[in-house]
């Protein structure tokens, strides 16, 4: 087995991979930027290397610096996590050039799947359903008009190099096509330095359902059930579950087998995810493939009992899968909430800053994958994901009840998080019934106006007033008649708390 793995990432996913390494007896190596000097992934690693200034381009996206650390640390493999360089085929090549194993697919498979239009062609070749639309980049606005007319409105314009919702535009009717085409192209150009767009049928109220795959270098493929990821804001997932509330064993088999056929086309190995859109009649269409570990992999792990990160590492080392499709059993239901540093009341505005209090839930059926700790200054430079809170229970209703309990136990102070948002969503009828689609939040999330005044709210206001008064009073009183000894200790405590990660 590998002796040392460099984790080319940060935050919760770096921590997740470090843990897998530790459990496999592999020494984990971290990298860090200025803003991450005392990040959790640094604290938990065996070795940590400084790779530059806080902006990602100067650190986590710098291939050169990471390759230097590879050489210096003598790591024999690299795990890219998700995001950053995880889907960059050039990085795969650079890693392999210095004789180090990339824990992921071949550069070729990554490239093929990274190009949306090519991936779509592969899916068609694999006899998997795809959303009706262009097979190739649109040459012109005229072509766009023509194709849109043919497949019928509404249609969707998408950046060929895209991801994360950038360069995407829905077009409801013909007269809006020209301007949408313009905007999508310029967004795509700005975001990916590639203005190429293509066009697809727009699926009304689609569900986002994806299949988790594992494939080894010997050509064995298994699917590990699906994940429903329809709860999205800004086209990014915020709640994921396994299984999907709509999936039957038969639908799962169909989607799983289609997914494997697609992956086979690219001779794919590693963990991988085939994303589908499902319409209201449960027809499903290939959307894209993610050639890396997904953020939401824990729900699959909870339901299948398989450790995806360990499997990735074993596959990269050349080991064949130790199980076949018939060994994969789904048990119960799992739901994940992405705890973001965002103010859901204010349109999910990012909210970095210092975590002054962190009290995480525990007890039966709880899994937390966190990248932060009390006292940590959440940097302004990176993704706002603080932690993934997942629960498992025997059934979906029990998982929802457990998640509610667990969110009530979760306390993060100092910054705004999406915890209150999740509490609200879990109480909604449509969520409880599993009536989900990718427009869910837009339709169902209306940040609270003032709660109506009840005797209960009045009592809570009274208690809040009392606690404020007592807190204020104690704070002042204590400082007036403190002893030298108290002052000594406490000043230091304040100093480390306030300054946190450095001196």
């Amino acid at each position: 087995m590998f002796k040392k793995i460099l984790i080319a990432n940060r935050g919760e996913i770096a921590v997740r991979i470090i843990r897998a390494c530790r459990e496999m007896g592999i020494s984990p190596v971290a990298i860090y930027s200025d803003a991450d000097r005392s990040a959790l992934h640094v604290r938990l690693a065996d070795e940590a290397y400084y790779i530059g200034a806080s902006p990602s381009l100067e650190s986590y996206l710098s291939m050169e610096k990471i390759i230097d650390v590879l050489k210096e640390s003598k790591a024999d493999a690299v795990h890219p996590g998700y995001g950053f360089l995880s889907e960059n085929a050039k990085f795969v090549q650079a890693v392999e050039q210095v004789g180090v194993v990339f824990i992921g697919p071949s550069a070729l498979a990554m490239e093929m799947m990274g190009d949306k239009i090519r991936a779509r062609q592969l899916a068609k070749a694999a006899n998997a359903p795809v959303v009706p639309g262009t097979e190739k980049p649109l040459d012109s606005l005229e072509e766009a008009y023509q194709v849109a007319k043919q497949i019928g409105y509404p249609v969707m314009l998408k950046a060929a190099a895209g991801g994360g919702g950038k360069g995407m535009r829905m077009v409801g009717k013909e007269e809006d096509l020209a301007s949408a085409h313009n905007i999508a192209r310029s967004e795509a150009s700005a975001a990916f330095k590639d203005a190429t767009v293509y066009l697809e049928k727009f699926i009304v109220r689609p569900r986002h359902i994806e299949i988790q795959l594992l494939a080894d270098r010997q050509g064995n493929y298994v699917y590990l059930g699906e994940r429903e990821c329809s709860i999205q804001r800004r086209n990014q997932k915020v709640v994921e579950e396994c299984p999907s509330p709509i999936n039957s064993a038969e639908l799962r088999r169909q989607m799983g087998e289609a997914a494997i056929r697609i992956a086979r086309q690219a001779e794919y190995y590693n963990a991988g995810t085939i994303e589908f859109l499902a319409d209201q009649e449960h027809n499903f269409y290939f959307l894209e493939m993610n050639t890396r570990l997904q953020v939401e992999h824990p729900v699959t792990e909870l339901v299948t009992g398989i450790d995806l990160v360990k499997e990735q590492i074993k596959i990269a080392y050349g080991q064949p899968l130790s199980f076949t499709q018939s060994d994969i059993q789904l048990r119960g239901a799992a739901i994940e909430c992405r705890i973001y540093a965002e103010d859901a009341e204010k349109n999910f505005m990012p909210n970095p800053g210092r975590i002054t209090r962190l009290s995480a839930p525990s007890g039966p059926g709880v899994r937390e994958d966190s990248g932060v700790y009390e006292g940590f200054e959440v940097p302004i430079y990176y993704d706002p994901l603080l932690s993934k809170l997942s629960v498992w229970a025997a059934t979906r209703p029990e998982a929802i009840a457990r998640l509610s309990r667990v969110l009530d136990e979760y306390h993060i102070d100092g910054i705004k998080t999406t915890i209150p948002f999740f509490k609200a969503i879990l109480k909604q009828d449509d969520f409880i019934k599993g009536n989900l689609d990718t427009g869910y939040i837009e339709r169902n999330w209306h940040p609270s106006s003032k709660p109506t005044e009840t005797p209960e709210t009045k009592e809570l206001q009274h208690l809040a007033a009392l606690v404020t008064a007592i807190h204020h009073n104690s704070t002042n009183q204590k400082s007036n008649n403190q002893t030298i000894n108290q002052a000594k200790q406490s000043a230091w405590r304040l100093s480390t708390r306030t300054k946190g990660r450095g001196f």
Partner: protein, 165 residues
């Protein structure tokens, strides 16, 4: 002890006595008998007729207010300090309004210069945090009288970035 507080622009008088962890209080005319504990700094557990309430207080020195979290609610409280009342109102010249950073971040662009005329809502400064850009607009029609930041500069939450008059 006696203090006056403000919640949602209503004033509450709090009058209380404490003996060990027992509190007798009159708040806004209502009497309470409570048990109070502080399991950790800024966290208070109250027992009111055996009902358990846990409140966490987060003082915000910039606005001189406190965020009190209780039972899935956040209540903003403010100690009314009669001595300082006069001073405060003097500080902000009437007709002048600041544009403040709603979150920590980095200034990516300054769209206006000092002396420029701006309409209400018109973008003045773009701040980025966590890969999201946030265009901060003018709070009113007026003239930019000060720009206090430069592109590339990091700002903290609540920091005044520009002044509109």
């Amino acid at each position: 002890m006696k203090l006056e507080l403000e919640i949602e622009s209503k004033t509450f008088s709090v009058d209380w006595e404490q003996k060990n962890d027992n509190i007798t209080a009159t708040i806004d005319g209502t009497s309470y008998e409570l048990v109070i504990m502080s399991p950790s700094p800024n966290v208070y557990t109250l027992l009111l007729n055996n009902k358990v309430y846990e409140l966490a207080i987060e003082p915000n020195p910039l606005t001189n207010t406190n965020q009190v979290k209780v039972v899935n609610q956040v209540i903003t409280t403010k100690i009314v300090d009669h001595r300082q009342r006069g001073h405060k109102t003097d500080k902000v010249a009437s007709g002048t309004q600041p544009i403040s950073a709603p979150m920590p971040g980095r200034v990516v662009q300054v769209l206006k210069n000092v002396g420029d005329e701006v309409k209400s809502g018109e973008g003045v400064i773009i701040v980025e945090a966590m890969k999201m850009q946030n265009e901060l607009g003018s709070p009113k029609n007026g003239i930019v009288t000060a720009i206090k930041v430069k592109p590339g500069q990091n700002v903290v939450s609540g920091e005044v970035l520009a002044i509109i008059e």
